[in-house]
């Protein structure tokens, strides 16, 4: 027999319940902020690279040490079955390609990318944030090139021309106020 998902975790207050329980008006902040997504940011100006490998990537230092010595800072490093993925500033991309080509590596670049950062304090105590992000972006037709996550945020790498659509979809999904979607693109 097919299994059905269990009921969602109980106990959390939704935004409206939170404000009601705290005796606050909508949008006012209580002593501790409500759990959930609080902010969305976008960082454009990145290129994404795939360095194909015959199996899971090994000897990462052989790739990253020369880049460091060349003054190139990498971001969003991910290890996949057949490749090492990472992002870096578009302005540093030519230098990175030159350095790694000199070592015999052939990179597959995707230029003009942006990282969308979804902030959600105490995120790991609220299962489902990642699922809602993926779902919202998928419904908006935004392709996720890569993800990363920490205890208080999720990073999604997307193509830069989809940034506004992505931010709008995420703001809508998480019920952020309209002004949060107006100018979400910021330089870090």
């Amino acid at each position: 027999m097919e299994k059905r998902p269990a009921a969602p975790s109980e106990g959390w207050l939704g935004p409206d319940e939170y404000w009601a329980a705290a005796g606050l008006r909508r949008g006012e902040m209580g002593f501790e902020p409500p759990r959930g997504v609080t902010r969305i940011e976008a960082r454009p100006g990145l290129d994404h690279f795939v360095l194909p490998t015959p199996g899971p990537p090994k000897d990462l230092a052989r790739v990253f040490r020369p880049l460091t010595d060349a003054g190139v800072s990498v971001d969003l490093v991910k290890l996949h079955e057949n490749g090492l993925h990472f992002a870096l500033s578009s302005s540093e991309a030519p230098r990175a390609q030159q350095v790694l080509a000199g070592l015999g590596y052939q990179l597959q670049p995707t230029p003009n990318c942006a990282i969308i950062t979804v902030y959600a304090p105490d995120m790991r105590s609220i299962p489902g944030i990642m699922g809602r992000i993926v779902s919202a972006l998928q419904h908006a037709g935004v392709a996720i090139l890569e993800t990363d996550d920490s205890y208080n945020c999720v990073f999604c790498l997307i193509e830069c021309d989809q940034t506004r659509a992505a931010c709008a979809a995420l703001a809508s999904e998480f019920g952020l106020e309209a002004e949060a979607t107006e100018g979400p693109i910021v330089e870090w």
Partner: protein
């Protein structure tokens, strides 16, 4: 007199010797001109008669389905017992009047999420009145109450979840505009790594709120991150100290890092997680994979499983879960059929898991569960933008033959997934690589 919050954890109140030292510290603070507010945890850890886990065990012996409201009421008793004893002890030791208060009496108003309640508001009037009267209030940590209107009773007792007494201390510190919140335990402060793994680990004299939050979330058994987050939001300095120690500098937690060699490499500390399990789903049909990814993450969320180290390719979805919820995750995903309805296409059916119970027309998604792993991390404020950290981590780990299985980053940390059996060596190598044992304390300004 400026309020000073002094929180004593379970190990600081578990035995008469520790309790007396804690009481002496409160009395000394009063004599020094502060207005101390003492926050206490339940006495001792599991096995001790009044420890929280021991009390919960009384219910577990009867049966597993305990009502959350009743469980919170019982769990709150450990702190209340401790509060009354410490109030009486402080009064006896110091001849200062004291008053014992529950979390609700101290004004902590929470939501109704029993077992993991959040603080909605604080009314510190009762504590302030005690201070005005020259008393030392002793407050039960880890607990609050709902509003009187809730539950049709005079407020239901709630507990704040793991690390709740730290949270109480910071919350009272914020509400009372305290000079400092002091967290006393059985360690001299925040260490550069777990000293049971790295004997050369040293006590940090200062660290930022962001760093301590990151350390705590990445597995370091230090201050609870929620406590640091409240202190950061309200600008209250925190200090971590050893109850029985003689060095009263401990570790100060502040907004800005000190200008010192401690920040030379951008890395402040190394942390390691508990054991985690890596999982990976492989889908044959790449076009359907985003739909399967969404369904997978939603199923895990409904099962109450948090995932992290999430990464994806056109045909795979990989992530890790805490080892303690692996069976729940497996149960949520394995042997299930997933229906994919892409726009303009016929419904496709997939089946996750062994071939055995797959319907004939369902395509197979393979679920791979890897060997035990741990997450080892280097932490430092703004580390994401410090060049070379990834290269140095790779050199440290790969130089010892430790395989890096995955990488994740945040604004203040970089983490690697490594085999669990190489945990200690990985932490030691990272601590050494970033020279965390070499800092000259004289140059560390606070």
């Amino acid at each position: 007199m400026k309020p000073l919050i002094m929180k004593f954890g379970g190990t600081s109140v578990q035995a008469p010797e520790q309790r007396r030292r804690a009481a002496e510290r409160a009395v000394q603070a009063k004599a020094d001109g502060f207005a101390p507010v003492v926050v206490v945890s339940a006495m001792g850890r599991k096995g001790e008669p009044y420890a929280t886990d021991t009390l919960v065990g009384l219910l577990d012996q009867i049966g597993p389905r305990v009502q959350p409201r009743e469980k919170d009421l019982l769990m709150a008793c450990g702190e209340i017992i401790s509060t009354v004893i410490m109030a009486h002890l402080i009064q006896t030791v110091g001849a200062y009047p004291t008053v014992a208060l529950t979390g609700g009496q101290a004004g902590l108003l929470t939501d109704r999420a029993f077992g993991k309640a959040r603080i909605l508001a604080i009314d510190p009037a009762r504590v302030e009145r005690a201070l005005t009267e020259g008393k030392i209030p002793v407050v039960a940590g880890f607990q609050g109450t709902t509003r009187s209107a809730d539950e049709r009773e005079h407020g239901a007792v709630t507990t704040l979840g793991r690390g709740g007494s730290d949270t109480t201390a910071s919350a009272l510190g914020a509400a009372l505009h305290a000079a400092e919140v002091q967290i006393f335990s059985d360690v001299p402060g925040i260490m550069t790594a777990d000293p049971s793994i790295v004997p050369q680990a040293r006590t940090l004299r200062a660290i930022t709120y962001q760093e301590i939050c990151e350390m705590a979330h990445l597995g370091a058994r230090v201050l609870h991150p929620r406590s640091a987050e409240i202190a950061m939001d309200y600008g209250i300095p925190l200090r971590v100290l050893d109850t029985m120690g003689t060095d009263d500098r401990g570790t100060l937690i502040v907004r800005e890092p000190p200008r010192s060699r401690e920040r030379e490499h951008g890395v402040t500390a190394v942390a390691n997680s508990e054991v985690v399990a890596p999982l990976s789903l492989t889908v044959g049909q790449a076009a359907d994979k985003p739909y399967i990814e969404r369904e997978t993450l939603i199923r895990l969320a409904h099962a109450g499983v948090s995932v992290y180290f999430v990464s994806a390719t056109p045909q795979t979805l990989s992530f890790v879960v805490d080892k303690e919820v692996l069976e729940t995750a497996r149960d949520a995903l394995q042997d299930v059929h997933i229906h994919v309805q892409r726009p303009g296409r016929a419904t496709a059916e997939y089946f996750v898991g062994p071939e055995g119970s797959r319907r004939p027309d369902a395509k197979l998604i393979s679920l791979w569960i890897g060997s035990d792993c741990v997450v080892v991390s280097v932490i430092g404020r703004g580390l994401r933008h410090v060049p070379g950290v990834m290269a140095r981590m790779a050199e440290a780990l790969e130089g010892a033959g430790i395989e890096i299985l995955q990488v994740a980053g945040s604004s203040n940390a970089l983490s690697c997934l490594v085999p669990a059996e190489r945990r200690d060596e990985a932490v030691i190598r990272l601590h050494d690589k970033f020279h965390l044992h070499l800092v000259d304390e004289d140059q560390v300004a606070v």
